[in-house]
Symmetry: C2
Subunit: 327 residues, 2 copies
């Protein structure tokens, strides 16, 4: 494998950005203005008994391929978004959706391959929120809450134009705000969490338990298939999205009372359900967010799709003063 | 009335501190190290049809009496804590528990009486949290969440050693985190809020509706009387405190997921119920706060009692770099 250890540093050069997800690894070279100069992706190795080193090999292969094919430019740094939890800013990651990595020193491993240039790593949901604040729906705002509704429910907070890290880099875990007091068990060990109600697989599972069978069998029992059926009036599918939207509204109301931010940006695949999710969410907000400083806060859709991850990871490098308050 | 307009400025002098509550006005001269040099108080004028100017007259009379009796020292400034909501940092206050003040320009009025010296005003719950961070149970911590359970449920947040204001000075309104999804109406217009479940009058009202009659008739149907009866085993009183403690635990779990702070400090009269409240609260935390960075956060009792208000108000003046990030 060609060595990339010779990557030179250029603070005006592109950032090499990596987004580590449970199903795919995405990489991009991102210019200082946020333009994606080149990108590539590969499936995340998965399966029973898989070793963490196999995933690391897939990461390095992807990064090398992209970097070499782009002519090995001098880099401003490497930015990484990865599923949590993690020890931050050390970047020892234990992604819920990558069981083979438990305490995996991802940041240190990447830093060893790219010596002499900044290597920065944050939660993937926080990277998505950073992308929306840097160049997307929250651009120029002093404060915002971003929520990503996907296979999990993640989030991040911008205050005073900077990312809120919290004591351990975990601020903004709004997926674990309690939205159903007598609620179902959550993967975190708690129950009634927003994530347990509104993440895609939870929406689909709730409907399946109530007799929903996807008309689009090729999509499986997914939130995407459920949204299609809800649009044609399937009552259980509609109710499943209503429950998720209500949970979202309750969670947003609680977060707004706590944070006092000026904007909420909602992204992630599940949020594409549109009005079927947004309607119940706004209804819940009308019921539960009644303080002057919470009831007027707009909730808008994210600008970026799946590429938010690499753009936010690049922002850790290019816009460190706002988004990298660590080391 | 003697004029105090001649108050000289001395950055090392004491702060004149005022705590505006629904039942009492408290004032103190507080040295730069937090020592209370002198203090005084008076009932807040109340009753149907009372005019806002009557309350303002009581404020000035109290401040003048204290200031003159202390020998009119040169002041570092005037710090004020007042019930919310308010327009902040302008200090136009509309305390829920003082109906005669709606948009009352308290900060401007005080500044006009004390020209040439800093006059700073914040939410009374935030002042109590500041006091605990400056010199109390949260001293030296980089981050904490403070909660005051009293006739209302207020709160405040310290992050990076500084108070979190939010966009409009309203961050930390944890009393309006949703803790009962099918919950009762709250004074804010929402429902299921922590405040609607755990504030003293709500605890007492819930028990009264279920047949509780205070054995200490002289105390009325208050949280204090209810706590006394709960200690002797009154089942409805116990259940009322259990419900409030559970709500507190759920609210804290949601706030911790959002904020990632290292400590929770609990104060206010209702928190004096002790184990009868703390037991159910910890039980709820065990159920609902399961993330690594939330489940290990200690919840401790506040160090200060009622004097927290004036100490925190004085800290706005004496410790402005940490607690007054405004104008």
């Amino acid at each position: 494998m060609p060595s990339v250890a010779a990557a030179a540093f250029d603070s005006h050069g592109p950032a090499l950005a990596l987004d580590v997800g449970g199903t795919k690894l995405a990489a991009a070279l991102v210019a200082a203005d946020g333009t994606i100069l080149a990108s590539d992706r590969t499936p995340t190795p998965a399966g029973p008994g898989i070793d963490g080193s196999v995933i690391w090999a897939a990461v390095t292969e992807l990064l090398d391929r992209l970097y070499l094919s782009a002519g090995s430019p001098a880099l401003a740094g490497v930015g990484v978004g990865c599923g949590g939890p993690m020890v931050w800013p050390a970047g020892e990651v234990s992604p819920l959706n990558i069981p083979a990595w438990r305490g995996f020193p991802l940041r240190a491993h990447i830093a060893a391959r790219y010596p002499g240039i900044p290597v920065r790593l944050h939660n993937d949901a926080i990277c998505m929120v950073i992308a929306e604040h840097w160049l997307g729906a929250g651009m120029g705002r002093e404060s915002m809450l971003g929520i990503v509704v996907s296979t999990g429910v993640g989030g991040g907070v911008i205050l005073g134009g900077q990312v809120l890290n919290g004591m351990s880099g975990n601020a903004g875990h709004v997926g674990h705000i309690i939205v159903e007091t007598d609620g179902v068990a959550c993967g975190c060990g708690g129950r009634g969490c927003l994530e347990a109600v509104a993440r895609g697989p939870a929406i689909a599972a709730w409907a399946t338990e109530r007799g929903w069978i996807p008309s689009r069998g090729d999509l499986g029992a997914t939130a995407e298939a459920l949204t299609i059926d809800a649009r044609t009036g399937h009552q259980v599918a509609l109710e499943a999205l209503r429950r998720a939207g209500t949970g979202l509204g309750i969670g947003i109301a609680s977060a707004l009372a706590t944070l006092d931010v000026e904007l909420v940006v909602l992204g992630g695949g599940v949020s594409q359900a549109g009005a079927l999710l947004y309607g119940p969410m706004h209804e819940a907000l009308r019921q539960y967010a009644s303080l002057g400083f919470t009831r007027s806060v707009p909730v808008v859709a994210a600008d970026f799709g799946p590429q938010a991850g690499v753009i936010g990871a690049a922002a850790l490098v290019h816009q460190g003063a706002a988004y990298w308050i660590a080391d």
